[in-house]
Symmetry: C2
Amino acid sequence: MKMQQTAEGVARPAGRPRSEKAEKAIIDATLDLIGEGIGVAELSIEAIAARAGVGKTTIYRRWSNKEDLVVDAMASLKPPIPLPEQGASVRDALVTYLRVIRDESSQVRTRCIMNIAMSDAERHPRLAERFREIAVEPRRRAVAAVIQRGIETGELRPDLDAEMAMAILSGTMMWHMKWAHQDRQPSDDLAERIVDEALKGFRPRPGED
Amino acid sequence: MKMQQTAEGVARPAGRPRSEKAEKAIIDATLDLIGEGIGVAELSIEAIAARAGVGKTTIYRRWSNKEDLVVDAMASLKPPIPLPEQGASVRDALVTYLRVIRDESSQVRTRCIMNIAMSDAERHPRLAERFREIAVEPRRRAVAAVIQRGIETGELRPDLDAEMAMAILSGTMMWHMKWAHQDRQPSDDLAERIVDEALKGFRPRPGED
DNA sequence: TGATTTCGATACGCTTGAGTTTCGCAACGC
DNA sequence: GCGTTGCGAAACTCAAGCGTATCGAAATCA
């Protein structure tokens, strides 16, 4: 594979360059299929190639196995974290955050992707790590910042454990979305109710401090 | 298929009766394989038959497809709910409850089964329904009873929403077990810390009532 | 123009597992 | 003993999908 020098000095291989469009089509097809409820195990390279309108060779030239492809596909997801506006109250910021989780959890596509992240993660550590990195950590940091600010303004208890608060807020919403929506869709004010309930324990106790 | 009358008057088919031992072996093998991390998609009848020391025909005679078998296997699980002793305080009862969840979530086998229940549930509604029925509902009721008692004794706020409390307790523990144990195993006092944090919001506010 | 590489398409050999059938034996009631 | 049904084992057909190879066309650079 001879290299050639471009004007910018970047080495590039001779011959026809790889198609970025094909690459994107492959990633999109993978996410589409996953979003339709196909698990990693059932996911076939042939189906991805067909969906992407691409030859199998084009896939194998880029990824040597299915797991690598799925990891890259998951990593390509840009999590829509509308970071809570810094001007709002802690309550409003947390409500906004939980509303995002609720809305995402209502979409079949997001739920399927989350299922894969959570379930197949047991067998594919790299996938779990990547998902944590792109989807969990940024949010954890965002919530931690909100909580830190709340502590500084006195809206929250000074000894509040941000990690615990994060777990309570996210965990409670996830539990509701997973196990409580069997008969009815989530009520519109679910985010508010969770935040208000949690804040009962998060706020400073009157008569203390 | 001719029927015959037993002494008890129960109709039973002619010929050799089906082996309960084989049936149990099939169920056990299924749960074993699932517990080892085999997903429903990769789970093969052949592997189950081999593991159970049974012919494939013996499986097909009882279950017409894989989903039916998995549903029955999951349903055979007796969830170990050590119902909190009624004498203990609400705090102790809830700590006991969360400890059970934590201990279960630490076992690979239980985690695999839960993963299947939660993830494959999206595609297999009967499986989700059954799991909810045998694993979620009994616990929900147990916790609801504890909370009801706490409200009656004045240990908890009279307007506390039992459903919300359940979601907070279980959801928070599940979140921790799923996303917080990446670097270290759960601390021994995790159950206590969650309950104490939650109770800060669950107890009556001083000066109110 | 020629060398090189990628493109999509198609075909190929191979493995896995589904679901069925057949076999000889075992367990039951009569 | 006889009829019936279940048993495990093995063989079978069939389909899906893997990973590789080959094809002619297209894209890029020297």
